[in-house]
């Protein structure tokens, strides 16, 4: 294999594929490398830890086709350290030679024939606007659990809902639900559970993209953005019955300006130390946020708000509360409550596409 290319394109490609490379050595040493394949002028790079695979294609000036697996970390660091301009790569025996200007290096390769065969993406494809998809992920993914002891909850449920696609995630303390109407990706009643780790990577890739193509298979999901392809193994198992958690009626309803609530919660939170909650006292007079930490101090702030219901004080983890309010769209939000121990629901007054359900802290 031998090719020439621009340093910048190669840095980006190695970086993207490298993000899927197994971080912890794992059972297959070859997975600490990026598989590089040259066919004509097309260079394909793939990194994988078997759960998550990221592949990228770039145009190069090819001279001789071939396949090699380069150690991801060192190759990426090395190419990134080069000055902008042309880079020359050629593979000879078990070494890759990388040269730029008067710089010369050779890297010992990993055995390419040990690199595992990766699944083919499902043939059925649906293309969506990347912006909508990215926003939905931004709203839902943070609610997924980071606790590997509960694998089901580390996933985001993507399910057919009406004529659209629904995203659901929960860590059992809060639940985020987002609908993308008019987006039929799955057949009615069909759903997949996608690891949130893969979706966080996908969010990074969606940044400046125009479109994203989804291919949902039985065991894998593939997302294609321009010349990058992310494939993830799906999580097997039954997602909890989240519908049953959402109370059908709420006796109490608070309506408050979103920015005002965010600003006040960020200020008051500073006095909610050591896992103490922020209390929301809701009455006809409006909303008061209170945080008291023993031996540290206290803060409270009164907010104008409309409140229908019985006077109620309910306490929340301030981070969970902010996570939800931050991603709720619109200028005004509602907080609906049953009592101080039941889940509260946060929604926008401007549409029902997003819902955030939050459990209180017992006080």
């Amino acid at each position: 294999m031998r090719f020439r290319c621009e340093r910048d394109g190669l840095v980006d490609a190695l970086g993207a594929a490298g993000r899927a490379v197994a971080s912890r050595g794992g059972s297959l040493p070859v997975l600490s490398g990026v598989r590089v394949e040259l066919a004509g002028d097309r260079l394909s790079l793939i990194g994988s830890d078997l759960d998550l695979t990221i592949g990228v294609e770039v145009e190069v000036a090819g001279e001789a086709d071939g396949v090699a697996v380069v150690p991801a970390k060192i190759a990426s660091d090395l190419v990134r350290s080069l000055e902008a301009g042309a880079v020359e790569v050629h593979v000879e025996g078990d070494e890759a030679h990388i040269a730029a200007g008067r710089f010369q290096s050779s890297i010992r390769l990993l055995p390419a024939d040990e690199f595992p065969r990766l699944p083919e993406p499902a043939p059925d494809a649906v293309t969506l606007a990347a912006k909508d998809f990215a926003l939905a992920l931004h709203q839902v993914v943070p609610a997924a659990s980071a606790d590997d002891a509960r694998p089901i909850l580390t996933g985001v449920l993507m399910a057919a809902e009406g004529d659209g696609l629904r995203f659901v995630a929960t860590d059992s303390y809060r639940l985020a639900v987002r609908d993308l109407p008019g987006t039929s990706v799955l057949r009615e009643g069909q759903s997949v559970l996608v690891p949130s780790r893969a979706l966080r990577e996908l969010e990074r890739l969606l940044g400046a993209a125009g479109e994203v193509t989804l291919r949902l298979g039985e065991r894998d999901a593939t997302f294609e953005i321009a010349r990058t392809r992310l494939t993830t193994r799906l999580i097997e198992g039954e997602f909890p019955n989240y519908r049953g958690l959402i109370p059908s009626t709420y006796p109490n309803r608070l309506t408050v300006g979103r920015e005002a609530l965010l600003d006040a919660a960020r200020r008051v939170r500073l006095m909610a130390r050591e896992a103490t909650p922020v209390r929301l006292s809701m009455s006809a007079d409006g909303l008061e946020l209170v945080a008291i930490t023993q031996d540290v101090g206290q803060a409270h702030e009164q907010l104008d708000a409309k409140y229908e219901g019985t006077e109620l004080t309910v306490a929340f983890n301030p981070e969970y509360l902010l996570d939800g309010v931050e991603v709720t769209p619109g200028d005004e939000i509602t907080v609906e409550t049953v009592d101080h121990q039941k889940p509260a629901v946060i929604r926008s007054t401007e549409g029902s596409e997003f819902l955030y359900l939050l459990m209180p802290v017992r006080v």
Binding site: Y173, P240, L245, T276, M359, V363
Partner: protein, 424 residues
């Protein structure tokens, strides 16, 4: 302000009688009745403990062993075995723990207990004091003395007053339990020498003598200003309060309870799952009630099964979130029990909950919301029981042909009844 007749006091100070020596005498019963001294036996050793027979000769703790030998040459001197005393102490503290979770050990042989939360189930402070003495004697063969009062300071003085006394004539057994009733604090306290107050050493004692203070009553009669002028701000306030019987220090457990549970030894071995499941419901229900009383919830459910041949196994399961309701504990405990073969006969069954968390300030989860039906019901059950007694509301499985059988803390202090309900 107080118009209701006051309840008997509920702070206990339990002090083992000549603990180290008494433990040694259990291993060496042939030494009983002789003066026995435990401590360093070398030239520079000191006495760790002496029994009452040795104290008659003037031997006391912290005295150089050589001096003790001169005072009582015929005493038997034994080297201390702290490891063994520690084991016995742990068992005694565990007995205390069955009466209340609020146990504050002061040393191997001494502890404060706050039993005010246990009175409804186990009796008044004085009744619990007598139960503790009886159980420690029955289970460990050791005697202890208990002071019962409204606070720690008075309870400790109470236990000292109830100790066996020693004079050159011999040993006089003590009362064993001394209760300082509400309203009787000053009558008990004021005749005591001022040296009895916690914090009064030789130096303070001399200063007080200059003020003509000899008894606690003398001190109490002095104006606070005078006491502070003589002893300084901190000591003055402290002793002034004590002289009036005031001590607001709470009983603090040095560790929160690690687990809460109940177990029961059956009068006759059970061989069948369905019988055991019914017992399990009772035990889980009692455990849940105790958890809620301590405002606690726990994540790990453990069952303990002892077979007829005394082989004992435990099985446990850890939940993602803490629970405190009877049905949620029962559900897990039943699953664990299903994995145990009771064919050879089960003699004892226990349920406990560990990985405890304080239930206030806890982030609730959707599991709580799903179980909320039970939590609401559990809270209602607790209220009904508080008003109408433990048998007012019980799980259906607890009813049997012989009526209701409720598990109460402190049940089976003397083992199973001779005439148990028949196994259905």
């Amino acid at each position: 302000m107080r118009e209701h007749p006051p309840e008997p006091p509920g702070i206990l100070h339990v002090d083992m009688d000549a603990f180290f020596v008494s433990v040694e005498l259990l291993r060496r019963p042939e030494l009983r009745g002789q003066p026995v001294v435990v401590g360093g036996t070398g030239d520079r050793g000191v006495v760790a403990a002496a029994n009452y027979e040795a104290r008659v000769y003037g031997v006391f703790s912290a005295m150089p062993s050589a001096r003790a030998r001169r005072l009582c040459p015929h005493a038997v001197f034994l080297p201390g075995d702290h490891h063994h005393y520690g084991e016995v102490s742990a068992r005694i503290m565990a007995i205390f723990g069955t009466f209340t979770p609020l146990v504050e050990p002061l040393s191997l042989d001494e502890a404060f207990l706050d039993v005010r939360g246990s009175r409804r189930l186990l009796g008044t402070g004085p009744e619990i004091a007598r139960s503790i003495r009886a159980r420690v004697l029955d289970e460990e063969g050791l005697r202890c003395t208990v002071g019962v009062a409204a606070n720690k300071f008075l309870a400790k003085l109470g236990s000292q007053a109830a100790k066996p006394s020693v004079s050159p004539k011999g040993v006089e057994p003590g009362e064993g339990v001394r209760v300082i009733p509400h309203g009787g604090e000053l009558a008990f306290l004021h005749p005591l020498p001022v040296r009895a107050l916690w914090g009064v050493g030789p130096a303070t004692s001399r200063k007080l003598e200059r003020l003509a203070v000899r008894t606690v009553g003398d001190l109490a009669a002095l104006p606070l200003d005078a006491v502070v002028a003589s002893l300084g701000e901190a000591t003055g306030h402290h002793l002034h309060r004590l002289a009036h019987g005031i001590d607001s220090r709470p009983v603090v457990t040095d560790q929160r309870p690690k687990s809460i549970g109940h177990e029961e030894t059956f009068a006759r071995d059970h061989h069948r799952h369905d019988t055991l499941r019914r017992e399990l419901v009772r035990l889980a229900d009692a455990t849940a009630a105790r958890l809620r009383r301590h405002r606690a919830a726990g994540r790990t459910i453990t069952i303990k099964v002892r077979f007829g041949d005394f082989r004992t196994i435990t099985r446990s399961s850890t939940l993602p979130t803490a629970v405190s309701s009877g049905p949620s504990i029962t559900r897990v405990a039943k699953e664990l029990l299903d994995g145990v073969d009771p064919g050879q006969g089960v003699r004892l069954l226990g349920v406990s909950v560990s990985h405890l968390v304080i239930d206030t300030g806890r982030q609730l989860s959707f599991e709580d919301a799903v179980a909320a039906g039970w939590d609401d019901a559990s809270a209602a059950v607790d209220q009904v029981r508080a008003r109408f007694g433990d048998d007012a509301v019980v799980p259906a499985a607890v009813t049997g042909p012989a009526g209701l059988r409720i598990k109460r803390g402190g049940d089976q202090q003397w083992g199973p009844d001779a005439n148990p309900p028949a196994e259905p």
